[in-house]
Amino acid sequence: MEYFQFLIIIIFSPLINGIIKKIKATMQGRRGPGILQPYYDLIRLFKKDMVISSVTSWIFKATPYIVFTATITASMIVPVITTKASLGMMGDVIALIYIFALGRFFMALAGLDAGTAFGGEGSSREMTVAILVEPIMMLSIFTAAISAGSTNIARIAQIQGIFYSPSHILALFAFIVAIIAETGRIPVDNPDTHLELTMIHEGMLLEYSGPYLALMEWAHYMKQMLLFTIAVDIFFPLGISNNTEFSGIAISFSAYILKMLFIAFLTAFVESTRAKMRFFQMPSLLGWAFVLALLSLLTYIMMGK
């Protein structure tokens, strides 16, 4: 069982995106597309032909596979419904963050590869955001890791109890901001627009079409769900199963669904109530998050909990 839990992320990640879109549409008084729409989009893209610019190198063709496999590898490290992750013994939080960084690096290269202005713009912005987000993510995870005495996510999930200390709450808020920036959502990036002045993530994918685009989009959905799962594992692991027996898994799975729905609701709420920030205002927001993460670590060291 534990060897198949990463399939949950692969299969259900477009669904989460569909649910977020549906909730968002409902909040804004629209009907919106059905929650299965991302699947239809992916299937349709897989059936289409590709147009590849003649000036691109092998990087352009390799990137979708690298990004997709990197994301799948990352999802094998993360415990989803049981703390026995498939590759749990092989990697911890640090490995996970740098597997993400690998995918992002190739994505930025591919954005530059086609030589269009928007691709380069997207890559440059993505790397700027990444530089600011990475320390936030690291510091906030380290707070949880120090209290668990291990950087293994499964171990952190086992240790965290019902009671929270101030340092955990601070780390949680910092991590939420990091997730918003990393998944390219409002107020950092708008996932629904292709407006050239504002796009970050879409800018890099602008040259992709057909199956490659489908792979990249799917990898993005997976990364989003993966980050949600890490947040849940680290900060609300209540209900996650420590073994692989059926009853435990059933409870754990239903708890997981509830948590994911809650996070989807929260994301849609933030997206509906906030406006997108100007790009040059973002260091202020991320600076805030960085200070929160730093404070959480300091508070943990000072208070000892």
Binding site: G287, F290, L295
Partner: protein, 219 residues
């Protein structure tokens, strides 16, 4: 019955909240929201005192809490709002250093305080962490006074410093005698009123509350 204060670490949460509201001051541009932030800080301070009063069952601490609530949570913010309306300024001018940098510097300030006061040698109060946090709040208040340009925001920095001092004294001594606390609060109130009138006068004479422009002598 009073177990829940320990179990949910209420005091820790409130004191971290006080620290956060002080740091948030660095990121706020609108003077209205600076005042709101200060109000929130004072409310948390008053709540902390009330909870400690409930914990140790001291009547005079309840009085201190209520007086804090009325003066810092109600009177001073009201007065500041009135001044701001009179002066017709809504935004602080661009501070000397950027938001992200000043946030980071205040984070470093907190780190320095925590590192240098890691062993709470002389603390026997209700919580060994509140002293560190209060000193951090004092330093952040000072930092706000240094980096801000407008007179009103500098006054708010001073008020944050005073809140930090109050918290420090409170955490060391379980609250000074009521008469001293009342005296300090009264001084504070007078100070704010004088500074407020002063700021309005500056604005009237120099057509700006930006303290950078006060470099020329006027006879």
């Amino acid at each position: 019955m009073k177990n829940w204060i320990q179990v949910f670490s209420v005091i820790d949460f409130i004191s971290v909240g006080i620290l956060l509201t002080a740091i948030a001051m660095n990121a706020l541009k609108r003077i209205e929201s600076c005042i709101k932030d200060y109000t929130f800080n004072s409310l948390l301070l008053s709540l902390l005192i009330a909870i400690v009063a409930f914990m140790v069952e001291e009547t005079h601490l309840y009085i201190a809490s209520i007086v804090t609530l009325l003066s810092k949570g109600l009177l001073i913010p009201m007065f500041l709002r009135k001044i701001v309306r009179q002066m017709k300024v809504t935004h602080d001018a661009e501070p000397y250093i950027s938001n992200a940098l000043s946030l980071t510097i205040s984070g470093i300030l907190v780190a320095v305080v925590y590192a240098s006061l890691k062993e709470g040698i002389f603390v026997t109060g209700f919580s060994k962490n509140v002293l560190q946090i209060s000193i951090a709040v004092i330093l952040i208040g000072l930092f706000i006074m240094i980096t801000r340009r407008k007179a009103v925001t500098q006054v708010i920095g001073l008020l944050f410093m005073e809140n930090g001092l109050f918290l420090a004294g409170f955490s060391l001594t379980f609250g000074m005698p009521t008469i001293i606390e009342l005296g300090v609060l009264f001084d504070m109130l007078m100070g704010v009123i004088i500074l407020g009138i002063f700021a309005v006068q500056i604005k009237r004479y120099f057509a700006s509350a930006d303290l950078d422009k006060l470099t020329i002598l006027k006879g």
